[in-house]
């Protein structure tokens, strides 16, 4: 199993500002995943963060809007840049065990006003 500490747990931000979300894993993992969950919706993969290389973004998500860092095998950050109310969502980091079972951080509940 894996324990993931994610912070902040929630934030209310002004439009046009940026928020950096941090995730710390209790073990070394090759890949970390960042998901967005809009209110009442499912989880959508934003990007995959690999240590030592640039993150891989999914369709509809770009590095300028969601820059990701992965300085080591236990830590990653996701920044939500130049925020608008449409960015109000839950952001979740995740790792998988054996490439299958996923473990999630507690989530960051972001409200942009």
């Amino acid at each position: 199993s894996a324990v993931i500490s994610q912070k902040p747990s929630r934030d209310i931000c002004q439009r046009g500002t940026s928020l950096t979300i941090q995730c710390q894993v209790d073990s070394q993992v090759t890949m970390m995943f960042w998901y967005r969950q809009q209110p009442g919706q499912s989880l959508t993969l934003i990007a995959t963060a690999n240590q030592g290389s640039e993150a891989t973004y999914e369709s509809g998500f770009v590095i300028d809007k969601f820059p990701i860092s992965r300085p080591n095998l236990t830590f990653s950050t996701l920044t939500v840049s130049n925020m608008s109310p449409e960015d109000s969502s839950i952001y979740l980091c995740s790792v998988t065990h054996g490439g299958t079972e996923a473990f999630f951080g507690q989530g960051t509940r972001l409200t942009v006003v």
Partner: protein, 115 residues
């Protein structure tokens, strides 16, 4: 990745009634996973099914994987108020090593249990 469809979107039941949610994939899956997300919480892994036709039980929960490995179901017998939450199915992305670890989630079924 493939599309994973899940129905129903909402289900309201009286405590003690049964509940079932269904998941269908547009492609054959190597495995399917189920997660539960309590209100205000994060998704928590429940189970993984791998074999065609597989059936697994966890107390009042029964999970099935279809023979074609394209559909799955979760059935809860005699629901309790502790069962409240959103149930998601998820399948691994198809295609290649670059997809390793990625999951496609169904839309989820929000279960409400009235005492």
């Amino acid at each position: 990745g493939q599309q994973v469809m899940q129905i129903p979107q909402y289900q309201h039941v009286q405590e003690g009634e049964d509940f079932t949610t269904y998941c269908n994939s547009s492609t054959t899956l190597s495995n399917i996973q189920w997660y539960k997300q309590r209100p205000g919480g994060h998704p928590v892994f429940l189970i993984q099914l791998v074999k065609s036709g597989e059936v697994k039980k966890q107390k009042r929960l029964t999970f099935q994987f279809g023979e074609a490995k394209k559909n799955s179901s979760l059935h809860i017998t005699a629901t309790q108020t502790t069962d409240v939450g959103t149930y998601f199915c998820a399948g691994p992305w198809d295609a290649g090593g670059t997809s390793y670890g990625k999951l496609t989630f169904g839309q989820g079924t929000i279960l409400t249990v009235h005492p």
